[in-house]
Symmetry: C2
Amino acid sequence: MTKPSPASHAFDRAIALQSEAGNLFSGHTSEAYQNMVGPFGGVTAATLLNAVLQHPECIGEPISLTINFAGPVQPGAFEIEATPLRTNRSTQHWLLLQRQGGEVVTSGTAFFATRRETWSEQQQPMPAAVPAESLPLLVRTERSWFENYDFRYVSGLFNPANPSAEQSEDTESLLWTRDIPARPLDFPSLTALGDVFAPRIFHRRQRFTPAGTVSLTHYFHADTAQLTACGERHILGQARAARMHNNYSDQIAHLWSDDGVLLLTSTQVAYYKE
Amino acid sequence: MTKPSPASHAFDRAIALQSEAGNLFSGHTSEAYQNMVGPFGGVTAATLLNAVLQHPECIGEPISLTINFAGPVQPGAFEIEATPLRTNRSTQHWLLLQRQGGEVVTSGTAFFATRRETWSEQQQPMPAAVPAESLPLLVRTERSWFENYDFRYVSGLFNPANPSAEQSEDTESLLWTRDIPARPLDFPSLTALGDVFAPRIFHRRQRFTPAGTVSLTHYFHADTAQLTACGERHILGQARAARMHNNYSDQIAHLWSDDGVLLLTSTQVAYYKE
């Protein structure tokens, strides 16, 4: 089977940006990654990160990224302003603003740095999971972005076509995931994969409710070499909530390479109704 | 014993701001909350949040807050610019910039919202802990900010004067904490209390190393009524790391009221050397 080159992958087209004057970049939403209201947030986050990665002044690699979904991104053109707020010797702080028609639709901040080799240790082990290949591929077509991700649930699947008769007692999901078609892992794709978990409230109550991420924070543990080592293989994601209270729920997630390296710690707060 | 009124508490003086033209506020660092390099980050975060709380256009209550420590805050005057980026019916997104001499020293974003009563549930229970009153108050004077916080460790204390002979096998600390003198809990003080945990690398290796928070994200689960209900009593904090890799470590923390209500989920990424 001939694999598409990364440049021709729908994900790369979705996050593509054109450099404009100064700190400005222009882009266009992708039909392939639409969610209920606007694009899949993970692709929006990856697109904002991509502005930093393409900025001529960018140094180092991403360490942290916070993205705030301020309003729906309408289908069509958008502008991203990526401003280096402060550059120290080996670190750089960024301000990110995505606008449509002059109005901010997404805001964010990013921290990049050059790492040096130090004493290191992973505390959070990969949970036990049967191999991705032994699990069925979840096929869903309600939203276009689903078709671009391979989901293989180890546990904690909420399937609206076949909800559990009883509410799940916990909020945890464990699943293997990667792009469809398979694509080498890099910082933008890991950024998007960190947002693939369904709102925990769906899983907890085994039904849909209006819900959506309002703010997302990624901590990148992996460097480029570790992402490259993941190749196109599945990565394992685990997500759970700590509290759902009056319209807002948190989520804590971790993503590991298939050989157990923690690549990402991610948190988010999501709105939910009813 | 006569308690000081909140207005006369050192914490309130430390986060005090003067409203200037437009979205600008001016303030001054506090001698009482100095850390190794610049002010205790929790007080800096609380000061930036305070700019939103004092802004005449502010609606709702804080749901999320991200603060990036871009450079050392020098002793003396600073300016904070708090810009409402987008206001929807019941939600508001903010951009926060703290400057000294025209240079950005701290950046951040905040999300505020008006909550409605919905189906709610707390998933993360409070860990078992003996009462605060049964534990000794940790007395430390290496940094001025320590003197303004009451720390009572249930487990996971790193005491540089008496380090464990062996490295601790985990990175978890559990402690009761509150302001000194005791002060009614509110959003600014909870913001600062969410950053009181020593860098996990100190605890893990039982020794000091140059280290400091570079980015912090708080998700506020509690509303004003729940904070008010906490009064001046201790709150319980738990913090641990998931991975320390080449200069950067994450931290996941939770803070509960003494009757078990999860008030805050907090994550941060910290730099460490060696």
